[in-house]
Amino acid sequence: MSDDRNLLPHIPVGPNSLLSRRRLLQAGGAVAGGLALSRITRAGAQQPPPAPNELVPPPDPPWSAQGQPFTTQGIRSPYVEIQRAYSGGDSPNVTRQTAGSNFAPLQDLDGIITPSDLHFQRNHSGTTIIDPAEHQVLVHGMVDRPKVYSMDDIKRFPRRTEIHFLECSGNSGAGYSGPSPDTTAQLMHGLTSTSEWGGVPMTTIMQDVGVQEGAEWALFEGADASRMDRSVPRSKLEDDAMLVYIQNGEPIRPEQGFPLRLLLPGWEGNTQIKWLRRIEFGSGPFYTKEETRHYTDALPDGQSRQFTYEMEVKSLITWPSAGHQVPAPGFWEINGIAWSGFGTITGVEVSVDGGNSWGPAELMQPVLPKAHVRFRFPWVWDGTPRVIMSRATDDTGYTQPARQRLLDIRGTQYIYHFDAIQPWLVDADGAVTNAMGQSASDLPSDTQISEEYL
């Protein structure tokens, strides 16, 4: 695998172009329809049709009339339907509505930044709404100066801004049991999002309270109903941890922990305590429920891994993906996202023939460590059934494995950290479904897919 895979010749069509081209086609159809209608209305049936060479100025479309007044809050176009989907569905039960997952619509998003209102959620006991004027953050335990900070205090410290992904460690977990063919990118992998985060480095707080020698761990605890808590080793706190209160240029949203959360770039989302109210330094791990009963990884031999913090390298094609329709054979641009909690994505390869051959995708700028990276890959579809997939490699040299190789080691009870290659089936009619977990014999024979990817 060479390092210059992202130095491909420039491809003069961006992923946005793809979308806008499709929209333009739709819009063009609407304009043409309006044109025909207005001719009948204005000119009447008696008037002869214009000569072929006569230039007819197009009528103004209705949206060129005077527009809407200013509003204090922005809105999406009524023609754009993108929304999260949560695990509780229509259940009226409070448990189902407050504990569980809310998936980001990956197949409808572009770029690397996730709009804050579409950022995924994993809550253990609902979203809590905190008055920042009343909020306090206590730092105590093995420190020289136990302190309590108001939010105004926290904001006085010198700040830092970084772009990082956040991912639930259970993201893509359907891969262990095998998803159904209609499982979309959103419901399969939507527990990951990338934001620009702003706040204070943990090292500043640690110096302010005087963390003692031997205080190798700290407990972080939220103010939510579950008092969600996790242990974090000092080495991570000294490396790149931050207490953040800014997300994409505004105060972080209640759903992401307003007014303050822990950010541990690249690590399991659940370690990055939201609604942070307490930090206690100690000599060892505190062995909370979320690092014993949950968020431990059970292997086929009955042993369980503990403190598996980094999220592994992962990628997926977001267009076309399950639920999409490839309109017709011909040129299309595949695009998707890749990320790694171990470091920086160095390359993404794409296969459009069931893994029989792979070609390098272009990584789009910016390519940042521990952040989503967007890739694109030109494709001329010949109209035959195809299994398309991507595999990413990071700067530790780790490449996403095929699903069966992952299951051989981890079994099906592992729950967390599923990072295998995601295959999508593009059928002859252009309909796209999830091929993972399907039997090769159930897929069209000319996909030539190897069982190891399914």
Partner: protein
């Protein structure tokens, strides 16, 4: 810019430091230029400094921790910029130079308050595997049966067998407490490693719709009942700090192994994927 970036400090604060100090410097010199009445000299100085500050900011933004962009030399190193030609040290520049970096300055600003002991006592709720945090109380299996039916059964089921709302808590007649077996449900009898964690969590977050409502005695009692239903303690057993610590390492305790600080992943067999 190496003069500004003292080598013993970590890179990100240094990068911020360089940017911050130079912005301060540029701003100070702009003020000087505006006030000095020596327009030619002042304008020339402020322009040069602005260029330097801009380049430093660019270097920082692209993640160049050492701030090499300022090697162009248009910005004066820290400690010198306050003595720019035609000017005299401004209070802001002098304080910045004397105070070191922004982080150090903030630490000297005495931000925050000393933590009141009663706040620490109220919030310090975690119960640790060494027994720290356990209350001096006593719970019984019989009392726990009532606590469970009143607070837990509506989600976990009257026998603790679990429902679609909450997980199974009692293994049931066909399974014995012991190390977790592949495919088994995960209960206190066969998955949780520490009893202290179990107590901590129930006290911390249960019942789901009214967390913190159980008394200390209630928590010990309901845990006693669950242990009893799993065949782990007798009908007449009581739980208190001593008996809890005696059985704190639960049947599945030996099955856990840490992946920190020695990382277990990616597994060797998954490395070297055929490319």
């Amino acid at each position: 810019m190496t003069d500004v970036h003292t080598p013993h400090r970590p890179a990100p604060p240094n990068a911020l430091l360089g940017r911050w100090l130079l912005v301060v410097a540029a701003f100070s010199l702009l003020l000087l230029a505006a006030c000095s009445g020596d327009e030619d000299n002042g304008t020339a100085t402020s322009t040069a400094t602005e260029v330097g500050a801009t380049e430093t900011a660019t270097g920082t933004a692209t993640g160049t921790a050492t701030g090499t962009a300022t090697a162009t030399g248009t910005a004066a190193p820290a400690g010198q910029y306050s003595l720019a030609p035609g000017g005299s040290p401004t209070p802001a520049a002098t304080e910045a130079a004397a105070g070191g970096d922004a982080q150090q300055m903030s630490l000297q600003a005495n931000i925050g308050s000393e933590a009141p002991q009663d706040l620490v006592d109220e919030w310090n709720i975690d119960i640790d595997p060494d027994g720290t945090g356990l209350w001096d109380a006593q719970g019984s299996v019989s009392a726990g049966a009532d606590v469970f039916q009143a607070n837990c059964a509506r989600c976990h089921g009257p026998d603790g067998a679990g429902t679609d709302l909450a997980p199974q808590l009692v293994l049931g007649p066909d399974m014995e407490p012991g190390p977790w077996q592949f495919g088994a449900p995960r209960t206190v009898a066969n998955y949780w490693p520490y009893l202290t964690t179990y107590i901590d969590y129930i006290h911390r977050a249960m019942p789901f719709d009214n967390p913190g409502s159980l008394s200390e005695e209630d928590v010990y009692s309901v845990v006693a009942w669950i242990l009893n239903q799993n065949g782990m303690i007798d009908d007449n057993a009581t739980l208190d700090p001593d008996s809890i610590m005696q059985m704190n390492e639960l049947p599945n305790y030996p099955s856990f192994f840490p992946c920190y600080p020695d990382e277990c992943r990616p597994e060797p067999a998954l490395r070297g994927n055929d490319q």
